[in-house]
Every structure is written in structure tokens, then in C-alpha cells.
Symmetry: C2
Subunit: 344 residues, 2 copies
């Protein structure tokens, strides 16, 4: 089959790879119908280190089950499925607790030795524990379903970790697809006011469409001041951190109200640098979050998507075919696109 | 009147100071009946920097109202009162939200220009917002009431921030008075199992008396391994961080279960050093806490003290008179005492 492979720094190629096969009785094979490029895919794309071993790209896909292993009980050929970006066995203590990203047998699609989402088919380990079936009669747009693989679930995780409550004033740091989905998630949880930090008019427009009430264009200390001005000097009680730099984390902590919480889901790039622990302590600002267990969130979000109450589709603003994956990476890397959709 | 004054490194003296007077209409004067020395008092005591201006010591006291300003409405002469370690106006947005330690007009007893707890009387700013009255007919031990000024409320805050829930497995890092009160607080909130890190048999004995189920004697990585062994490899879902060093924070994060929370109340001494943010992110471990708004917690805890359901008194293991304050500091500094009670 054909799939996208990363060979090195900014070197993504679509090429012929071995067809995936069922390897374990708990596997399923899924024919990919839609996939997309993630902001976190760009971390590997931008990594200047030499990569002696090529690796598949992508971890967000939806598709149709082609075959299942002998131990798979909840899926059958022809099922439409949503794959969270990590696989998980569904039965370990972490999965049972809803933290599938800590599954003791878990892994990431696209990690070495596994299939990536940017290919015609994917072998899915622990298919019963991993995949979520789309109801047969559901008429949801594929892009809305696809967003549940990562960005919508991750935005929702940020909002939960930031303890967004009905009537809350929320701020979102990061105007990529996750931050924008965070706006949707915060509004869905009842936030009254959602302030988004964005200097990109196209992203700010999507934020507004998703329910943002205020756009702040500055960064760093200027952004902190702007948010404080908008909140009677107090800051936002819930802050969604959807960008992984130390500066973004520092800003997120700075715009939080005393006693508030930052729900952080941007992959950390700078370690502890953005954290001012003494400030957190003095002001009782909590820092929560991490790799989002989207598998736990998909059923709840899917119900809203199927009911037409939730549609994150507008985060996709570039559509390519499989051969266009390298261009999809380039466009996102150069910030010409928010998120690239791959149609098969 | 007589009060304790710190002049420099390990230089605490009891001496004659001006009698406190009502300065603002919102003030009250309180005659101190019982006070105590806090682990955080030792931070100033150990500070080697020269102190050009002497400063009062102590921030934990209970007593009897001697006089109130013209604007005070909820207190009168003769009332028995508990003072939280910070004063607060009770009406600013932070106080209304229950975060009295962020009060825009707040301050700490013993800060420059204010009275400390280690003196015969204290001027209490914003008396209505600050002091909590003890019911007239209450027969609670003074030591139990005194512990509500700081350590019991701070242990409770740690437990709340760590999200202790009924049936929870909890770990406590720090075997000082706050950590020990954290054991009481965790059990009070329904924790089934409380693991305490302690290498001091006398402190471990109090922890057991307060409901600790397991004592771990190692530190650092050894402690992390021991706690994991006790918890089927998972760690504790709620961790109370009651020691302020980077090592203690690092340990607290390390023994937390994936998806768990560290409620941190030890005054940070080493900034960010103890934080491994990538680990927190990968394992979804939350860090919450800060200066405890004990004013918010006193009414609830006081009800339990008065009802005889809660008694943190055993944290006091040395009793002195006012003249013995310097010895009280020395004994705690040398770890000969857990917490020094001062009787007037």
C-alpha cells in the first residue's frame, strides 16, 4: 500500500510500504477514509536531528474495518470507526480509570514499528479497547468525526483540566486547531466568556465562529495585561494551554486568576522554563493536564457530533489527497494552513 | 507589652515593645492566650541574610477580644477568637471566592509593621473578615483550636488540592505538623489508605495515631519505589506535599499515580527545580496548591473540633511560656520538637 514516511528534517515522502496484516488476535485492520496532520506531527517534521530509521507519519484517522483478529468481539468488517491517536487495551487500571494514554500496553500510531494514520490502511492493536464505532445511521460530516481523533478531545481535556464551569471566564493560549477546539469545548461546558490569544486573523475568525467573546493580539506580558484589563484585573479562572512553548505556559499561568487552573495540553518543548512555581504557590494557581486520553472522551463528544450540536470541522482549511501529504506538512509548518485534511 | 522579635540569623529575643492600639475602625485588639511556632517561622530564623530592621515573630494565635474599632460589627469584647495566619477584608472578590490569602487588602501576622502572634496582644486588621469566633459553650482543647490557625487548615488545603476522595489511596510527603495534619485531613475526607514518608519514629507515631496506614522511611527514588511497591506499581492518586524543598516536590510528583494530583502546601524553597514537567505531562499528574486560605476552612474544621471529631493537638510536643520562645525555635530547628506551644 502507499503511506507517508518521514526520512529526516522536513523530509516527508509518500511511498510504497508493506501491506499491514493482522499480527495479534486482538488486532483490527482499518481502511483509512480520512486522516489529518497534527501540530504535534510538525515537532518531528521540524526536528533537525538525523533520523537513521524512517518512520510513518500521522496519528489521526477514521475509516472502515476491513478485518478483525479472532479475539476481537466488539467490531466487525464494515464498521465505521474513529481511532484515538493512541491505542490502549481498555482493561488495565489506567484504562479503567479513563486515562487510556497511560495504558500499560498502549502506544502511539506512527511510533516506530507501527502504522501511521497517513496511509491507506492501519493495523490497530487492541482494537476492542481502542476503536470507537460510529452509529450506522449517523450522518455526521467526516471532518467532525475526524476531529475527535485528537484535537477536539484534546481541547476538551484542556477544558476539563482547567475546570471550566458554567458561567466561567476562560482564556485560551494557542490558536492552533487544539486551541480552537478548546474554545468549542469551553463553550460546550458552559463558559460565558472565552478570551483567545491570537495574532492571526484567520484563526481569530474561527475562534469567533466557535464562540470566542474576545480576541487578544499581544503576547507575553502584553497579553497578560490585556487579559487582566478584560477581567477587572483578576485574570481568567480557567486557562487552556494549547501551545507547547515555555513562553506559552508562562503566559497561561500569568493570565490565570488567583485560585484558577491552567489545563495544559500543548506538548512541552522547553521543560520547566515557563513555570514560575513561586507565583503559582503565592496565587494558588493549579497546573493540570497532559497527553489527552481522547479515547475516554470520544463517546460523549461523538454523541454531540451525531446530534448536530458540535462541529469542529472549520479547523480544517486545506484538503489534499495522500500524495499531497508533504504539501500538507509544508502548509502547516509555514502557517498557511491551520490543519490539513487528507481524503483517501 | 512583651513580644518576641527576630533580630537576625537565629537571633530571637523576647522584649518590651509598644502596646498595640486600635489604628483603624475595622481593627480589633486580641489578648493572646495561646500561640505556636510554625515550620515557616523557621525559614526566617535560618535565613543568614542580615536583618537591618527587627520584626515580630509568629502568625498562629488564639485569644480573647479586648477592644474593637467602631466599624467592627461581628465581634465584641470577651469573644474567644481564632486568627488565621493572614488577615483579609472578607469582601474582595478573592475573599468572596474563598481565597482569603489573595485578599487585595490582606497581609501576614508578623510581617514588618504588624504584630506577631508571639506577643501578649495583637492588633488584628479587618477583624470582621479575619477572626472566627469560638462558640461560647465550646469545650474544645485550646491546642485543637490553635491548630486551626494554620497547620490543620493547611493540611486540609493540601488534601483538597490533591482531590482526596472517599476510598482514596493518599501519600504524604513531609512529616512536620502540616504533613501530620494532612493525614488527619485525608482520613477525614474518607481516604482509605494513607502512606506517610517519615524517617523520624516520633513523627511516624503521631502519623499512625492520626490514621496513617503505612510509613515509608526512605527518601527520593527509594521512597518512590517503596510507594509504588505498596500500590501495585501505580502510585498514590492523591499526594500531599507538605515540605518545601525541590526534592520533596520531585518525590511528591514521582509517587503520584498517573492522572493523580499533588496538593502542594510547603513553602517553595528551590523554585522550579523539583518539577519534572515532561513527566507531569506524560502521566497527567496535576500540581495544585499554595498558601492555604485557612480562613475559608476554619468554620468547617471548627465544627468538627467542637464536636470532638477532630483533634490535631498531638502535633504539639513542647510547651513554653512567652520567655521560652527562643528555646521553642531552637528545639524545632534542631528537630527536637515537632511544634512548640506557647502558653500565656
Amino acid at each position: 500500500m502507499r503511506a507517508s514516511v518521514i526520512h529526516g528534517h522536513r523530509d516527508v515522502r509518500v511511498e510504497e510500504v508493506p501491506d499491514p496484516r493482522l499480527r495479534y488476535p486482538t488486532d483490527a485492520l482499518v481502511r483509512v477514509t480520512h486522516a489529518c496532520v497534527c501540530g504535534s506531527d510538525l515537532l518531528g517534521y521540524r526536528n533537525p536531528a538525523p533520523r537513521p530509521q524512517s518512520q510513518r507519519t500521522g496519528h489521526e484517522f477514521i475509516g472502515v474495518v476491513q478485518a478483525v483478529g479472532s479475539a476481537v468481539t466488539t467490531l466487525r468488517e464494515g464498521d465505521r470507526v474513529i481511532a484515538p491517536f493512541t491505542w490502549s487495551d481498555g482493561v488495565c487500571p489506567h484504562c479503567v480509570a479513563g486515562l487510556h494514554t497511560s495504558c500499560v500496553r498502549g502506544g502511539f500510531f506512527g511510533q516506530p514499528g507501527s502504522d501511521g494514520a497517513h496511509g491507506e490502511a492501519v493495523r490497530v492493536p487492541f482494537a476492542d479497547g481502542t476503536l470507537v464505532t460510529v452509529p450506522e445511521d449517523a450522518e455526521a460530516p467526516p471532518t467532525a468525526l475526524l476531529a475527535l481523533c485528537d484535537v477536539m478531545g484534546t481541547g476538551h481535556h484542556a477544558a476539563l483540566c482547567a475546570k471550566v464551569r458554567p458561567g466561567a471566564t476562560v482564556a485560551v493560549v494557542g490558536d492552533g486547531a487544539v486551541g480552537l477546539c478548546g474554545v468549542l469545548a469551553a463553550r460546550r461546558l458552559g463558559a460565558e466568556r472565552v478570551i483567545v490569544l491570537s495574532s492571526h486573523p484567520d484563526r481569530a475568525a474561527v475562534a469567533r465562529r466557535f464562540g470566542a467573546s474576545d480576541i487578544v493580539t499581544g503576547r507575553g506580558e502584553a497579553a497578560v495585561e490585556s487579559v487582566r484589563e478584560l477581567t477587572r484585573g483578576l485574570g481568567a479562572e480557567a486557562v487552556l494551554g494549547a501551545a507547547g512553548t515555555g513562553e506559552a505556559l508562562h503566559t497561561a499561568l500569568g493570565i490565570a486568576r488567583d485560585g484558577g487552573a491552567v489545563g495544559f495540553v500543548g506538548v512541552p518543548r522547553d521543560g520547566n522554563e515557563g513555570i514560575d512555581f513561586r507565583q503559582m504557590f503565592r496565587r494558588n494557581v493549579a497546573l493540570s493536564g497532559g497527553v489527552a486520553p481522547v479515547r475516554a472522551h470520544i463517546p460523549e463528544l461523538l454523541a454531540d457530533v451525531v446530534a448536530g450540536r458540535l462541529d469542529p470541522s472549520p479547523v480544517f482549511d486545506l484538503t489534499v489527497k495522500l500524495d499531497g501529504v508533504p504539501e500538507g506538512f509544508r502548509a502547516m509548518n509555514e502557517r498557511r494552513a491551520i490543519k490539513t485534511l487528507i481524503e483517501f
